[in-house]
Protein backbone atom coordinates (compact mmCIF):
# COMPACT_ATOMS: atom_id res chain seq x y z
CA UNK A 1 0.00 0.00 0.00
CA UNK A 2 2.43 2.62 -1.17
CA UNK A 3 0.15 5.41 -2.35
CA UNK A 4 -3.29 5.56 -0.76
CA UNK A 5 -6.22 7.54 -2.10
CA UNK A 6 -6.93 8.98 1.34
CA UNK A 7 -4.09 9.64 3.78
CA UNK A 8 -4.78 10.90 7.29
CA UNK A 9 -1.80 11.79 9.48
CA UNK A 10 -1.82 12.96 13.10
CA UNK A 11 -5.39 14.24 12.86
CA UNK A 12 -6.53 16.08 15.97
CA UNK A 13 -9.87 17.65 16.76
CA UNK A 14 -11.12 19.17 19.96
CA UNK A 15 -14.28 21.00 20.90
CA UNK A 16 -13.21 23.53 23.49
CA UNK A 17 -11.50 21.50 26.21
CA UNK A 18 -12.88 18.20 24.98
CA UNK A 19 -10.51 16.18 22.89
CA UNK A 20 -12.49 14.17 20.34
CA UNK A 21 -9.75 12.92 18.04
CA UNK A 22 -6.25 12.63 19.41
CA UNK A 23 -3.83 11.57 16.75
CA UNK A 24 -5.42 9.60 13.95
CA UNK A 25 -3.32 7.93 11.23
CA UNK A 26 -5.40 6.19 8.61
CA UNK A 27 -4.98 5.11 4.99
CA UNK A 28 -7.65 4.16 2.52
CA UNK A 29 -6.34 2.72 -0.75
CA UNK A 30 -8.29 2.93 -3.98
CA UNK A 31 -11.13 0.37 -4.28
CA UNK A 32 -10.94 -0.38 -0.58
CA UNK A 33 -13.77 -0.43 1.92
CA UNK A 34 -12.64 0.62 5.39
CA UNK A 35 -15.03 0.33 8.32
CA UNK A 36 -14.75 2.44 11.46
CA UNK A 37 -16.25 0.77 14.52
CA UNK A 38 -16.51 1.93 18.11
CA UNK A 39 -19.02 3.11 20.66
CA UNK A 40 -20.92 6.36 20.35
CA UNK A 41 -18.64 9.25 21.24
CA UNK A 42 -15.55 7.39 20.07
CA UNK A 43 -14.96 9.92 17.28
CA UNK A 44 -16.09 7.99 14.19
CA UNK A 45 -18.48 10.65 12.96
CA UNK A 46 -16.10 13.49 13.74
CA UNK A 47 -13.40 11.75 11.73
CA UNK A 48 -15.68 11.52 8.69
CA UNK A 49 -16.76 15.13 9.12
CA UNK A 50 -13.13 16.23 9.24
CA UNK A 51 -12.40 14.42 5.99
CA UNK A 52 -15.36 16.16 4.30
CA UNK A 53 -14.19 19.52 5.74
CA UNK A 54 -17.42 19.96 7.67
CA UNK A 55 -15.13 20.49 10.66
CA UNK A 56 -11.89 22.46 10.86
CA UNK A 57 -9.16 20.16 12.12
CA UNK A 58 -6.94 21.30 14.97
CA UNK A 59 -3.83 19.53 13.83
CA UNK A 60 -2.60 16.95 11.36
CA UNK A 61 -3.31 16.54 7.67
CA UNK A 62 -5.79 14.86 5.36
CA UNK A 63 -4.67 14.15 1.80
CA UNK A 64 -6.88 13.05 -1.05
CA UNK A 65 -4.37 11.85 -3.65
CA UNK A 66 -1.97 14.78 -4.05
CA UNK A 67 -4.32 17.40 -2.59
CA UNK A 68 -4.03 18.40 1.04
CA UNK A 69 -7.66 18.90 2.05
CA UNK A 70 -6.69 20.52 5.35
CA UNK A 71 -4.80 23.32 3.58
CA UNK A 72 -6.64 26.56 4.44
CA UNK A 73 -5.72 27.95 1.01
CA UNK A 74 -7.86 25.26 -0.56
CA UNK A 75 -11.45 26.17 -1.47
CA UNK A 76 -13.42 23.59 0.53
CA UNK A 77 -16.11 23.45 -2.16
CA UNK A 78 -13.57 22.22 -4.68
CA UNK A 79 -12.48 19.43 -2.33
CA UNK A 80 -16.04 18.43 -1.47
CA UNK A 81 -16.86 18.01 -5.14
CA UNK A 82 -14.50 15.03 -5.16
CA UNK A 83 -16.08 13.41 -2.07
CA UNK A 84 -19.56 12.01 -1.54
CA UNK A 85 -21.08 11.70 1.92
CA UNK A 86 -24.23 9.99 3.20
CA UNK A 87 -25.58 10.85 6.62
CA UNK A 88 -27.39 8.81 9.22
CA UNK A 89 -30.52 10.97 8.92
CA UNK A 90 -30.61 10.84 5.06
CA UNK A 91 -30.92 14.66 4.83
CA UNK A 92 -32.72 14.50 1.49
CA UNK A 93 -34.17 17.85 0.43
CA UNK A 94 -37.88 17.52 1.26
CA UNK A 95 -39.03 20.07 -1.31
CA UNK A 96 -37.46 18.23 -4.24
CA UNK A 97 -38.43 14.97 -5.93
CA UNK A 98 -35.98 12.06 -5.73
CA UNK A 99 -34.83 12.78 -9.27
CA UNK A 100 -34.26 16.48 -8.51
CA UNK A 101 -32.42 15.59 -5.29
CA UNK A 102 -30.02 13.49 -7.34
CA UNK A 103 -29.55 15.88 -10.26
CA UNK A 104 -29.15 19.03 -8.13
CA UNK A 105 -25.38 18.81 -7.67
CA UNK A 106 -24.53 17.49 -11.15
CA UNK A 107 -26.52 20.31 -12.73
CA UNK A 108 -25.70 23.20 -10.40
CA UNK A 109 -22.14 22.36 -9.39
CA UNK A 110 -20.79 20.34 -12.29
CA UNK A 111 -22.78 22.01 -15.07
CA UNK A 112 -24.18 18.79 -16.51
CA UNK A 113 -27.13 19.52 -18.84
CA UNK A 114 -30.51 18.48 -17.47
CA UNK A 115 -31.16 15.73 -20.00
CA UNK A 116 -27.81 14.08 -19.36
CA UNK A 117 -28.03 14.47 -15.58
CA UNK A 118 -31.48 12.92 -15.50
CA UNK A 119 -30.45 10.04 -17.74
CA UNK A 120 -27.59 9.09 -15.41
CA UNK A 121 -29.79 9.67 -12.36
CA UNK A 122 -32.34 7.23 -13.75
CA UNK A 123 -29.61 4.71 -14.39
CA UNK A 124 -28.51 5.06 -10.76
CA UNK A 125 -32.06 4.75 -9.46
CA UNK A 126 -32.53 1.67 -11.57
CA UNK A 127 -29.41 0.10 -10.09
CA UNK A 128 -30.55 0.92 -6.55
CA UNK A 129 -34.04 -0.45 -7.14
CA UNK A 130 -35.77 2.92 -7.04
CA UNK A 131 -36.66 3.27 -10.73
CA UNK A 132 -40.36 3.81 -9.97
CA UNK A 133 -39.69 6.43 -7.26
CA UNK A 134 -38.00 9.07 -9.43
CA UNK A 135 -40.86 11.54 -9.18
CA UNK A 136 -41.86 10.87 -5.59
CA UNK A 137 -40.96 13.31 -2.84
CA UNK A 138 -38.84 11.97 0.04
CA UNK A 139 -41.73 11.91 2.52
CA UNK A 140 -43.44 9.27 0.39
CA UNK A 141 -40.54 6.82 0.72
CA UNK A 142 -39.66 4.33 3.45
CA UNK A 143 -36.48 4.91 5.47
CA UNK A 144 -34.58 2.33 3.44
CA UNK A 145 -35.71 3.88 0.17
CA UNK A 146 -34.79 7.36 1.40
CA UNK A 147 -31.33 6.19 2.37
CA UNK A 148 -30.85 4.50 -1.00
CA UNK A 149 -31.92 7.74 -2.66
CA UNK A 150 -29.37 9.59 -0.52
CA UNK A 151 -26.69 7.15 -1.67
CA UNK A 152 -27.74 7.75 -5.27
CA UNK A 153 -27.44 11.50 -4.64
CA UNK A 154 -23.90 11.05 -3.32
CA UNK A 155 -22.96 8.83 -6.27
CA UNK A 156 -24.37 11.19 -8.90
CA UNK A 157 -21.27 13.40 -8.92
CA UNK A 158 -18.98 10.37 -9.39
CA UNK A 159 -16.88 11.12 -6.31
CA UNK A 160 -13.43 9.61 -5.83
CA UNK A 161 -14.23 8.77 -2.23
CA UNK A 162 -17.47 7.93 -0.45
CA UNK A 163 -18.06 8.58 3.24
CA UNK A 164 -20.91 6.77 4.99
CA UNK A 165 -21.77 7.95 8.48
CA UNK A 166 -23.76 5.19 10.21
CA UNK A 167 -26.13 5.08 7.30
CA UNK A 168 -28.21 2.23 8.71
CA UNK A 169 -28.53 3.45 12.30
CA UNK A 170 -31.81 5.29 11.76
CA UNK A 171 -33.41 2.38 9.89
CA UNK A 172 -35.82 -0.27 11.08
CA UNK A 173 -33.99 -3.61 11.33
CA UNK A 174 -35.84 -5.13 8.38
CA UNK A 175 -34.73 -2.24 6.15
CA UNK A 176 -31.03 -2.39 7.04
CA UNK A 177 -30.39 -5.25 4.59
CA UNK A 178 -31.51 -3.40 1.48
CA UNK A 179 -29.13 -0.52 2.18
CA UNK A 180 -26.18 -2.75 3.02
CA UNK A 181 -26.77 -4.73 -0.19
CA UNK A 182 -26.29 -1.46 -2.06
CA UNK A 183 -23.00 -0.83 -0.27
CA UNK A 184 -21.79 -4.35 -1.06
CA UNK A 185 -22.66 -3.72 -4.70
CA UNK A 186 -20.66 -0.47 -4.67
CA UNK A 187 -17.65 -2.37 -3.38
CA UNK A 188 -17.96 -4.88 -6.20
CA UNK A 189 -17.93 -1.96 -8.64
CA UNK A 190 -14.62 -0.82 -7.16
CA UNK A 191 -15.63 2.32 -5.29
CA UNK A 192 -13.56 3.58 -2.39
CA UNK A 193 -15.52 3.80 0.83
CA UNK A 194 -14.79 4.93 4.36
CA UNK A 195 -17.72 4.15 6.62
CA UNK A 196 -18.67 4.33 10.26
CA UNK A 197 -20.94 1.46 11.15
CA UNK A 198 -22.46 -0.61 13.93
CA UNK A 199 -23.12 -3.59 11.63
CA UNK A 200 -20.38 -6.02 12.64
CA UNK A 201 -21.58 -8.83 10.38
CA UNK A 202 -21.57 -6.49 7.43
CA UNK A 203 -18.09 -5.22 8.29
CA UNK A 204 -16.88 -8.81 8.45
CA UNK A 205 -18.38 -9.57 5.03
CA UNK A 206 -17.41 -6.47 3.09
CA UNK A 207 -14.64 -4.51 4.77
CA UNK A 208 -11.06 -4.79 3.53
CA UNK A 209 -9.97 -3.26 6.79
CA UNK A 210 -11.62 -2.52 10.13
CA UNK A 211 -10.50 0.22 12.53
CA UNK A 212 -11.64 0.22 16.12
CA UNK A 213 -11.81 3.69 17.69
CA UNK A 214 -12.07 4.49 21.35
CA UNK A 215 -11.56 7.79 23.13
CA UNK A 216 -10.42 9.50 19.95
CA UNK A 217 -7.66 7.10 18.92
CA UNK A 218 -7.51 4.09 16.63
CA UNK A 219 -6.93 1.38 19.19
CA UNK A 220 -6.62 -1.42 16.69
CA UNK A 221 -6.82 -1.88 12.94
CA UNK A 222 -6.38 -4.74 10.56
CA UNK A 223 -8.32 -7.07 8.32
CA UNK A 224 -11.94 -7.64 9.29
CA UNK A 225 -11.08 -11.22 10.20
CA UNK A 226 -8.26 -10.18 12.48
CA UNK A 227 -9.99 -7.29 14.33
CA UNK A 228 -13.43 -8.85 14.66
CA UNK A 229 -12.53 -12.48 15.29
CA UNK A 230 -9.15 -12.33 16.99
CA UNK A 231 -8.70 -8.84 18.43
CA UNK A 232 -5.34 -8.21 20.08
CA UNK A 233 -6.45 -5.35 22.33
CA UNK A 234 -8.44 -5.69 25.52
CA UNK A 235 -10.56 -2.61 24.65
CA UNK A 236 -11.56 -4.11 21.31
CA UNK A 237 -12.60 -7.36 22.95
CA UNK A 238 -14.68 -5.47 25.50
CA UNK A 239 -16.41 -3.46 22.80
CA UNK A 240 -17.10 -6.46 20.59
CA UNK A 241 -18.52 -8.44 23.49
CA UNK A 242 -21.00 -5.64 24.14
CA UNK A 243 -21.77 -5.01 20.47
CA UNK A 244 -22.37 -8.68 19.67
CA UNK A 245 -24.38 -9.08 22.83
CA UNK A 246 -26.77 -6.42 21.58
CA UNK A 247 -27.43 -7.91 18.18
Amino acid sequence: MSESLLRIRGLRKQYGERLVLRSIDLDVAEHQVVCLIGGSGSGKSTLLRCVDLLEVVDDGTVHLNETELTDPRLDPDVARRRIGIVFQAYNLFPHLSVLDNITLAPRQVHGVPRRKAEASARELLDRLGLADKAHEHPDRLSGGQQQRAAIARALATEPELLLFDEITSALDPELVGEVLDVVADLKRRGLTILMATHEMDFARRVADRVCFLEGGVIVEQGTAEQVLTAPREQATRRFLARALDRS
Partner: protein, 302 residues
Protein backbone atom coordinates in the same frame (compact mmCIF):
# COMPACT_ATOMS: atom_id res chain seq x y z
CA UNK B 1 -24.13 14.35 16.01
CA UNK B 2 -23.77 12.16 19.01
CA UNK B 3 -20.14 13.25 19.29
CA UNK B 4 -21.19 16.75 20.17
CA UNK B 5 -23.20 15.66 23.15
CA UNK B 6 -21.34 12.77 24.68
CA UNK B 7 -18.39 13.88 26.70
CA UNK B 8 -15.24 12.08 25.74
CA UNK B 9 -13.27 11.57 28.93
CA UNK B 10 -9.99 13.35 28.27
CA UNK B 11 -7.90 11.52 30.75
CA UNK B 12 -8.87 8.03 29.71
CA UNK B 13 -8.36 9.05 26.10
CA UNK B 14 -4.91 10.42 26.63
CA UNK B 15 -1.92 8.81 28.16
CA UNK B 16 -0.19 10.80 30.91
CA UNK B 17 1.83 13.72 29.67
CA UNK B 18 -0.33 14.47 26.62
CA UNK B 19 -3.27 16.14 28.31
CA UNK B 20 -5.00 18.91 26.39
CA UNK B 21 -3.08 21.53 28.30
CA UNK B 22 0.31 19.98 27.63
CA UNK B 23 -0.28 19.72 23.91
CA UNK B 24 2.02 21.50 21.46
CA UNK B 25 0.71 22.06 17.94
CA UNK B 26 2.85 20.74 15.10
CA UNK B 27 4.77 23.15 12.87
CA UNK B 28 2.32 22.37 10.10
CA UNK B 29 -0.62 23.40 12.27
CA UNK B 30 1.16 26.55 13.43
CA UNK B 31 1.83 27.54 9.83
CA UNK B 32 -1.84 26.90 9.07
CA UNK B 33 -2.95 29.10 11.94
CA UNK B 34 -0.57 31.84 10.82
CA UNK B 35 -2.11 31.74 7.37
CA UNK B 36 -5.65 31.86 8.79
CA UNK B 37 -4.75 34.82 10.98
CA UNK B 38 -3.25 36.76 8.11
CA UNK B 39 -6.26 35.97 5.93
CA UNK B 40 -8.55 37.23 8.67
CA UNK B 41 -6.51 40.44 8.94
CA UNK B 42 -6.73 40.88 5.18
CA UNK B 43 -10.51 40.45 5.29
CA UNK B 44 -10.87 42.97 8.12
CA UNK B 45 -8.78 45.46 6.19
CA UNK B 46 -10.76 44.98 3.02
CA UNK B 47 -14.14 45.29 4.70
CA UNK B 48 -13.06 48.45 6.54
CA UNK B 49 -11.76 49.93 3.32
CA UNK B 50 -14.96 49.09 1.42
CA UNK B 51 -17.13 50.56 4.17
CA UNK B 52 -15.13 53.78 4.28
CA UNK B 53 -15.16 54.11 0.49
CA UNK B 54 -18.91 53.57 0.45
CA UNK B 55 -19.52 56.19 3.12
CA UNK B 56 -17.24 58.70 1.41
CA UNK B 57 -18.99 58.12 -1.92
CA UNK B 58 -22.46 58.65 -0.45
CA UNK B 59 -21.34 61.70 1.51
CA UNK B 60 -19.58 63.20 -1.48
CA UNK B 61 -22.61 62.67 -3.70
CA UNK B 62 -24.83 64.48 -1.18
CA UNK B 63 -22.46 67.38 -0.62
CA UNK B 64 -21.76 67.78 -4.33
CA UNK B 65 -25.46 68.00 -5.21
CA UNK B 66 -26.56 71.48 -6.36
CA UNK B 67 -29.12 71.88 -3.57
CA UNK B 68 -26.78 70.79 -0.78
CA UNK B 69 -26.31 74.21 0.79
CA UNK B 70 -30.05 74.67 1.22
CA UNK B 71 -30.56 71.12 2.50
CA UNK B 72 -27.69 71.55 4.92
CA UNK B 73 -29.18 74.66 6.53
CA UNK B 74 -32.77 73.34 6.40
CA UNK B 75 -32.18 69.82 7.74
CA UNK B 76 -28.85 69.83 9.54
CA UNK B 77 -28.99 72.99 11.57
CA UNK B 78 -27.18 72.37 14.85
CA UNK B 79 -28.59 75.35 16.73
CA UNK B 80 -32.10 74.47 15.63
CA UNK B 81 -31.63 70.87 16.77
CA UNK B 82 -30.38 71.99 20.19
CA UNK B 83 -33.28 74.37 20.72
CA UNK B 84 -35.88 71.80 19.57
CA UNK B 85 -34.49 68.89 21.50
CA UNK B 86 -36.13 69.42 24.94
CA UNK B 87 -39.60 69.64 23.38
CA UNK B 88 -38.91 66.63 21.18
CA UNK B 89 -37.75 64.58 24.14
CA UNK B 90 -40.84 65.51 26.16
CA UNK B 91 -42.98 64.56 23.17
CA UNK B 92 -41.11 61.32 22.70
CA UNK B 93 -41.83 60.32 26.29
CA UNK B 94 -45.51 60.32 25.31
CA UNK B 95 -44.66 58.03 22.38
CA UNK B 96 -42.98 55.64 24.78
CA UNK B 97 -45.98 55.69 27.11
CA UNK B 98 -48.41 55.04 24.27
CA UNK B 99 -46.17 52.24 23.04
CA UNK B 100 -45.98 50.56 26.44
CA UNK B 101 -49.72 50.77 27.19
CA UNK B 102 -50.68 49.62 23.69
CA UNK B 103 -48.12 46.79 23.72
CA UNK B 104 -49.49 45.24 26.92
CA UNK B 105 -53.06 45.43 25.63
CA UNK B 106 -52.03 44.02 22.26
CA UNK B 107 -50.20 41.06 23.77
CA UNK B 108 -53.09 40.09 26.02
CA UNK B 109 -55.85 40.60 23.44
CA UNK B 110 -53.84 39.11 20.60
CA UNK B 111 -53.16 35.96 22.58
CA UNK B 112 -56.81 35.64 23.60
CA UNK B 113 -58.00 35.99 20.03
CA UNK B 114 -55.44 33.48 18.81
CA UNK B 115 -56.52 30.98 21.46
CA UNK B 116 -60.16 31.47 20.51
CA UNK B 117 -59.32 30.88 16.87
CA UNK B 118 -57.45 27.61 17.45
CA UNK B 119 -59.74 25.94 19.99
CA UNK B 120 -62.27 23.49 18.68
CA UNK B 121 -64.88 23.75 21.47
CA UNK B 122 -68.30 23.95 19.74
CA UNK B 123 -69.64 26.45 22.30
CA UNK B 124 -67.08 28.98 21.19
CA UNK B 125 -68.22 28.99 17.56
CA UNK B 126 -69.79 32.50 17.69
CA UNK B 127 -66.68 33.90 19.37
CA UNK B 128 -64.49 32.17 16.82
CA UNK B 129 -66.48 33.72 14.01
CA UNK B 130 -66.24 37.16 15.62
CA UNK B 131 -62.47 36.76 16.07
CA UNK B 132 -62.04 35.77 12.43
CA UNK B 133 -64.09 38.70 11.18
CA UNK B 134 -62.21 41.07 13.49
CA UNK B 135 -58.81 39.94 12.27
CA UNK B 136 -59.87 40.04 8.63
CA UNK B 137 -61.30 43.55 8.90
CA UNK B 138 -58.70 45.23 11.04
CA UNK B 139 -55.74 43.77 9.23
CA UNK B 140 -57.22 45.16 6.05
CA UNK B 141 -57.66 48.75 7.23
CA UNK B 142 -54.64 51.09 7.08
CA UNK B 143 -53.51 52.04 10.58
CA UNK B 144 -53.64 55.78 9.82
CA UNK B 145 -57.26 55.42 8.71
CA UNK B 146 -58.08 53.65 11.97
CA UNK B 147 -56.45 56.48 13.91
CA UNK B 148 -58.74 58.95 12.12
CA UNK B 149 -61.85 56.81 12.54
CA UNK B 150 -61.31 56.14 16.24
CA UNK B 151 -59.89 59.58 17.01
CA UNK B 152 -62.73 61.55 15.51
CA UNK B 153 -65.51 58.96 15.34
CA UNK B 154 -65.50 57.60 18.88
CA UNK B 155 -65.89 60.98 20.66
CA UNK B 156 -68.59 61.96 18.14
CA UNK B 157 -70.76 59.13 19.43
CA UNK B 158 -70.97 61.04 22.71
CA UNK B 159 -71.31 57.82 24.66
CA UNK B 160 -70.95 57.93 28.39
CA UNK B 161 -67.39 57.23 29.54
CA UNK B 162 -65.83 57.53 26.12
CA UNK B 163 -62.32 58.92 26.57
CA UNK B 164 -61.69 62.23 24.93
CA UNK B 165 -57.93 62.43 25.49
CA UNK B 166 -56.42 62.19 22.01
CA UNK B 167 -53.50 60.02 23.15
CA UNK B 168 -55.89 57.46 24.68
CA UNK B 169 -57.91 57.40 21.47
CA UNK B 170 -54.65 56.91 19.62
CA UNK B 171 -53.73 53.97 21.82
CA UNK B 172 -57.14 52.41 21.17
CA UNK B 173 -56.65 52.75 17.42
CA UNK B 174 -53.16 51.30 17.50
CA UNK B 175 -54.32 48.45 19.72
CA UNK B 176 -57.18 47.60 17.38
CA UNK B 177 -54.86 47.52 14.40
CA UNK B 178 -51.88 45.70 15.92
CA UNK B 179 -53.92 43.15 17.89
CA UNK B 180 -55.13 41.77 14.58
CA UNK B 181 -51.55 41.22 13.40
CA UNK B 182 -50.27 39.88 16.68
CA UNK B 183 -53.20 37.46 17.00
CA UNK B 184 -52.16 35.97 13.66
CA UNK B 185 -48.55 35.70 14.81
CA UNK B 186 -49.63 33.88 17.96
CA UNK B 187 -51.91 31.61 15.96
CA UNK B 188 -49.05 30.66 13.66
CA UNK B 189 -47.02 29.90 16.78
CA UNK B 190 -49.71 27.70 18.27
CA UNK B 191 -50.00 25.80 15.00
CA UNK B 192 -46.23 25.38 14.78
CA UNK B 193 -46.06 23.16 17.86
CA UNK B 194 -45.90 19.57 16.72
CA UNK B 195 -49.10 17.57 17.35
CA UNK B 196 -47.00 14.88 19.01
CA UNK B 197 -46.27 17.34 21.83
CA UNK B 198 -49.99 17.73 22.46
CA UNK B 199 -50.48 13.97 22.38
CA UNK B 200 -47.62 13.44 24.80
CA UNK B 201 -49.16 15.94 27.24
CA UNK B 202 -52.63 14.40 26.93
CA UNK B 203 -51.14 10.95 27.44
CA UNK B 204 -49.77 12.16 30.78
CA UNK B 205 -53.31 13.00 31.85
CA UNK B 206 -53.17 16.78 31.38
CA UNK B 207 -56.50 18.18 30.24
CA UNK B 208 -56.91 20.47 27.23
CA UNK B 209 -56.40 23.63 29.28
CA UNK B 210 -53.35 22.32 31.14
CA UNK B 211 -51.90 21.07 27.87
CA UNK B 212 -52.16 24.49 26.27
CA UNK B 213 -50.95 26.28 29.39
CA UNK B 214 -47.92 24.13 30.19
CA UNK B 215 -46.87 22.52 26.92
CA UNK B 216 -48.22 24.19 23.79
CA UNK B 217 -48.19 27.87 24.73
CA UNK B 218 -44.60 28.08 26.05
CA UNK B 219 -43.27 26.48 22.87
CA UNK B 220 -45.55 28.58 20.68
CA UNK B 221 -44.42 31.84 22.26
CA UNK B 222 -40.79 30.81 21.97
CA UNK B 223 -41.24 30.03 18.29
CA UNK B 224 -42.80 33.39 17.45
CA UNK B 225 -40.69 35.69 19.60
CA UNK B 226 -38.75 37.13 16.65
CA UNK B 227 -41.81 38.06 14.53
CA UNK B 228 -43.48 39.33 17.67
CA UNK B 229 -40.57 41.66 18.36
CA UNK B 230 -40.74 42.74 14.76
CA UNK B 231 -44.30 43.92 15.35
CA UNK B 232 -43.15 45.69 18.55
CA UNK B 233 -40.67 47.69 16.54
CA UNK B 234 -43.27 48.60 13.95
CA UNK B 235 -45.69 49.64 16.70
CA UNK B 236 -43.06 51.79 18.35
CA UNK B 237 -42.70 53.78 15.14
CA UNK B 238 -46.41 53.91 14.40
CA UNK B 239 -47.12 55.74 17.64
CA UNK B 240 -46.14 58.79 15.54
CA UNK B 241 -49.36 58.32 13.54
CA UNK B 242 -51.27 59.57 16.57
CA UNK B 243 -49.80 63.00 15.75
CA UNK B 244 -52.78 63.59 13.44
CA UNK B 245 -55.05 63.70 16.52
CA UNK B 246 -53.02 66.49 18.04
CA UNK B 247 -51.38 65.21 21.24
CA UNK B 248 -47.92 66.63 21.80
CA UNK B 249 -45.85 63.58 20.93
CA UNK B 250 -42.49 63.73 19.18
CA UNK B 251 -43.68 64.14 15.59
CA UNK B 252 -46.29 66.76 16.55
CA UNK B 253 -43.72 68.66 18.63
CA UNK B 254 -41.33 68.59 15.67
CA UNK B 255 -44.09 69.80 13.36
CA UNK B 256 -44.91 72.78 15.56
CA UNK B 257 -41.28 73.76 15.96
CA UNK B 258 -40.57 73.30 12.24
CA UNK B 259 -43.54 75.41 11.21
CA UNK B 260 -42.53 78.12 13.64
CA UNK B 261 -38.88 78.33 12.55
CA UNK B 262 -39.27 77.40 8.86
CA UNK B 263 -36.64 74.74 9.42
CA UNK B 264 -36.94 70.96 9.04
CA UNK B 265 -34.20 70.00 11.49
CA UNK B 266 -36.72 69.16 14.28
CA UNK B 267 -38.06 66.34 12.07
CA UNK B 268 -34.56 64.94 11.82
CA UNK B 269 -34.29 65.19 15.61
CA UNK B 270 -37.53 63.23 16.04
CA UNK B 271 -36.28 60.60 13.59
CA UNK B 272 -33.08 60.23 15.59
CA UNK B 273 -35.08 59.63 18.75
CA UNK B 274 -37.11 56.85 17.13
CA UNK B 275 -33.96 55.27 15.73
CA UNK B 276 -32.33 55.41 19.15
CA UNK B 277 -35.02 53.05 20.43
CA UNK B 278 -35.64 50.85 17.39
CA UNK B 279 -32.02 49.94 16.71
CA UNK B 280 -31.40 48.33 20.13
CA UNK B 281 -34.78 46.59 19.81
CA UNK B 282 -33.80 45.26 16.39
CA UNK B 283 -30.46 43.95 17.65
CA UNK B 284 -32.29 42.30 20.54
CA UNK B 285 -34.71 40.65 18.10
CA UNK B 286 -31.76 39.37 16.04
CA UNK B 287 -30.23 37.80 19.11
CA UNK B 288 -33.46 36.08 20.07
CA UNK B 289 -33.78 34.83 16.52
CA UNK B 290 -30.31 33.29 16.61
CA UNK B 291 -31.00 31.61 19.91
CA UNK B 292 -34.32 30.25 18.68
CA UNK B 293 -32.62 28.80 15.60
CA UNK B 294 -29.99 27.08 17.70
CA UNK B 295 -32.65 25.59 19.92
CA UNK B 296 -34.61 24.25 16.98
CA UNK B 297 -31.49 22.55 15.66
CA UNK B 298 -30.72 21.07 19.04
CA UNK B 299 -34.24 19.65 19.12
CA UNK B 300 -33.86 18.17 15.65
CA UNK B 301 -30.95 16.06 16.88
CA UNK B 302 -28.69 16.56 13.87
Amino acid sequence: MDIGKTAVPDRSATSPGTLVTGYRPSDHERERQRYRRSRKRRHTWLSTLCTLLGLVAVGAAAVASPGWERVDSLFFNGAELRSAFPDLLRGFWLNIQMFLVAEVLILVLGLLIALVRVTRAPGLQPLRLAATVYVDVFRGVPTLLLVFLVGFGLPALQLQGTPSEPWILGVIALTLSYTAYVAEVFRAGLNSVHPAQRNAARALGLNERQTVRHVVLPQAVRNVLPPLLNDFIALQKDTALVAVLGPLEALRAAQIKADYDFNYTPYLGAALLFIAVTIPLTRFADRLQRRATQRTWAGAGQ
